[in-house]
């Protein structure tokens, strides 16, 4: 009897075993639409002109190390300049905007110093990657001043 009663209780609390097609179709439309929007928006190439300006690092919980750049300037010609404080600066010189890779690149220091532009919904995140040596790198997020 106990066994039967247990079985009956299990069946009463068991979710319905039928497929809710309407719900599945609704979820399918939601997911397909979202995926289409995300995939089309995320790979949109930003206009380099909108990136012109001065940027400073986003503060970090533990502060920024002394090796971190203190300011990034992108001029209308697509050149950029990184200031490291104490008068030390790295002028990018012949940097060009690589629209395909969404980055400013120079021919010779592409591994050592890069500015990465990450599109967000209503703005861009700018990440600056510096290479302090010994195979390490540090990346800092910058915001427009």
């Amino acid at each position: 009897m106990d066994h039967e009663q247990n079985k009956s209780m299990r069946e009463n609390t068991r979710p319905k075993d039928s497929l809710s097609l309407r719900l599945i179709v609704a979820v399918g439309i939601l997911l397909t639409g979202t995926a289409a929007i995300l995939l089309s928006w995320s790979f949109a190439v930003p206009d380099p002109g909108t990136l012109v300006g001065t940027y400073i690092p986003v503060p970090q919980l533990l502060g920024l190390p002394s090796s971190a750049p203190t300011r990034l300037t992108i001029d209308p010609n697509g050149k950029m300049r990184l200031d490291f404080g104490a008068g030390r600066a790295a002028d990018s010189g012949g940097v060009h905007w690589d629209a395909k890779e969404l980055t400013f690149r120079s021919k010779y220091d592409s591994l050592e110093m890069r500015v990465r532009v990450v599109p967000d919904w209503f703005s861009y995140h700018v990440f600056v990657r510096v290479h302090p040596g010994l195979g390490r790198y540090e990346e800092y997020e910058f915001r427009r001043l």
Binding site: P15, S18, L38, F127, R136
Partner: protein, 558 residues
């Protein structure tokens, strides 16, 4: 927190299961598209692992399985399963190894999130599987490279692909310890063996999990006076051990049979990922002070309580996974620190980041489970407030389950643009492009492949040995200390390599004895080195190829 129930997946309705699978497909699509984009047009991988793997694949394709592709006369030392898979795919697709290794990554590594999803579904049901997989795919990685964090990445290196085997192995282990029948233990042993064949670190975690669960079960049953059960467990686990040995025999044959697991070169396993070093504590905190880890750790505590008090087997398995990874991580770190700073040499296993990787994967599971339960608690509290009556635990409706799964669309939508350009994709792609830009260097790859046969040995500096020589699958005298056969004395080869190059730049005709010892047949130099090698013509008179940066010489038959 009784919502944390083991193995709930079997009780869910077909609509929940269908929506969970649709969410998986949605997340895989969003993860894979930037991955495919990252490897599009890429010819060369950018990290040494690609070149090591390529060498092994070439070794298999040329019929020399079991040989070390770097050092002549030495044997297989790296877990070969991924190379066997890659070599099989090369045969199947007729793609050259360097192309296959770069382009197949986004597709093959989809196995990892699929296996992760299946594993969480098995342990916690489909809703938690969606929650944990969303975290695993879109929120766990942030700015770290894909090989350091358990997630999907398009870069086909062993650690990233072989995690899939480990997740399946967790299911097999759990099944084996829910019964004392023989067959589940055989599967668990075979799974551990295949995992070990793919990568030593997850294989070791799996073996230690089986060992710990065996010891615990035997102790418990023996104390309870159930001696027959203890004996049965010993028998099933011994069978699992035998299955493990059989499955991993193609690897164990060499590392045990030839090398007796005697590690001579310690650099590969004392390598420490920069964000795990004390000197870069800031980087560690930067990467790890994050809601995923915080919620994951709270989830771990709840799982731990459940494992201890409720004796839920699934929680025990998952907590043990995290615990053993943590122990191995701590031990590996101690080995590394003692070796580097105090010259104390303890036996090593694998670089610590491998265990950090699996701890992160476990945290994604715990975080997903906690969010699911938190959502249900919240829903019940709201229901009670709105309707004034208590909503019973475990009474979650189909609508609430579907709502929780599809709600993940919102946070994914918010992070997706930066996810699609995350560091793991962007930096690696940038490096790949940088490598391909150096066409003078990549041409050397063609020279070496064209001029050298399997038995030839090349002398060059360590930098050139890493790329392009390593990828060719041709022998050389020495390479970077973290990459070569750990069962061979690296220092001796390193010093001899330096001596041979120095002798070619010396005042006297070099003694060929050292060159003969390593059976050196070819010499690769940068043009700057070439100008300094005034004695070069005495041993390597034949110039085979030259471009603006490099020159390849051959030694006449000696």
């Amino acid at each position: 927190m009784t919502g944390l129930r083991p193995l709930t997946g079997k009780r869910t309705d077909p609509t929940t299961r269908a929506v969970a699978l649709m969410m998986l497909a949605f997340m895989l699509l969003l993860a894979a598209v930037p991955g495919v984009h990252a490897v599009t047009g890429i010819q060369w991988g950018s990290v040494l692992d690609f070149y090591r793997d390529e060498a092994y694949v070439r070794t298999i394709l040329e019929g020399h399985f079991g040989a070390d592709p770097f050092y002549k006369g030495e044997h297989l030392w790296y877990a070969p399963l991924i190379y066997l898979i890659e070599a099989g795919l090369c045969k199947l697709t007729s793609l050259p190894p360097e192309v296959l290794l770069v382009r197949a990554g986004p597709w093959l590594i989809l196995l990892a999130p699929i296996a992760f999803f299946a594993m969480v579904w098995y342990f916690r049901g489909p809703v938690t599987a969606v929650c944990s997989t969303a975290i695993y795919l879109f929120f766990a990685v942030r700015h770290e490279p894909g090989w350091a964090v358990a997630t999907y990445t398009p870069w086909l290196i062993p650690v990233s692909l072989l995690q899939a085997f480990f997740y399946i192995e967790l299911i097999l282990i759990d099944k084996a310890f829910r019964t004392r029948r023989l067959l589940p233990s055989v599967w668990a042993g075979l799974g551990a063996g295949f995992t070990f064949m793919g990568h030593a670190a997850p294989g070791l975690i799996a073996v230690l999990m089986i060992g710990t669960l065996t010891a615990w079960d035997m102790l418990r049953t023996w104390r309870a006076g159930e001696h027959a059960d203890a004996g049965r467990r010993l028998l099933t686990s011994s069978t699992a051990a035998l299955a493990f040995v059989l499955a991993s025999l193609p690897f164990l044959w060499y590392v045990v049979g030839y090398y007796s697991l005697h590690l001579v070169n310690r650099a590969p396993f004392i390598f420490t990922y920069y964000a795990l070093t004390i000197s870069d504590l800031r980087a560690f905190l930067f990467h790890n002070i994050h809601w995923v880890n915080l919620i994951g750790l709270i989830g771990l505590v709840i799982f731990l309580v459940e494992a201890v008090h409720a004796r839920a087997k699934s929680s025990t398995t998952l907590v043990l996974w995290f615990g053993i990874s943590l122990v191995l991580f701590t031990y590996g770190y101690a080995v590394s620190v003692l070796d580097s700073h105090y010259d104390i040499h303890l036996p090593g296993t694998a670089p610590t980041f491998h265990y950090y990787f699996y701890m992160k994967a476990a945290l994604s599971v715990f975080a997903g489970a906690l969010l699911y339960d938190g959502f249900q608690l919240f829903r019940r509290a709201i229901g009670k407030r709105m309707r004034g009556d208590a909503v019973a635990e475990g009474s979650e409706t189909l609508r609430s389950r579907v709502a929780l799964m599809t709600l993940w669309v919102i946070p994914i939508l918010m992070v997706y643009p930066s996810y699609a350009y995350r560091n793991d994709l962007f930096v690696q792609r940038a490096r790949c492009i940088k490598f391909a830009e150096d066409t003078l260097r990549t041409t050397v790859f063609e020279w070496v492949r064209e001029e050298m046969t399997w038995n030839d040995v090349l002398l060059c500096n360590a930098d050139l040995s890493c790329f392009p020589v390593m990828a060719t699958g041709r022998n050389f005298v020495c390479t970077a200390n973290t990459m070569p056969n750990p069962y061979v004395d690296h220092l001796e080869r390193y010093l001899d390599n330096g001596r041979m190059l120095a002798s070619l730049a010396g005042n006297q005709v070099p003694d060929p004895a050292l060159f003969n010892k390593y059976q050196v047949t070819h010499l690769l130099l940068t043009t700057a080195e070439d100008r300094a090698m005034v004695q070069r013509a005495s041993l390597f008179p034949l110039e085979l190829h030259r471009n603006g940066s490099y020159v390849l010489y051959a030694r006449p038959h000696w």
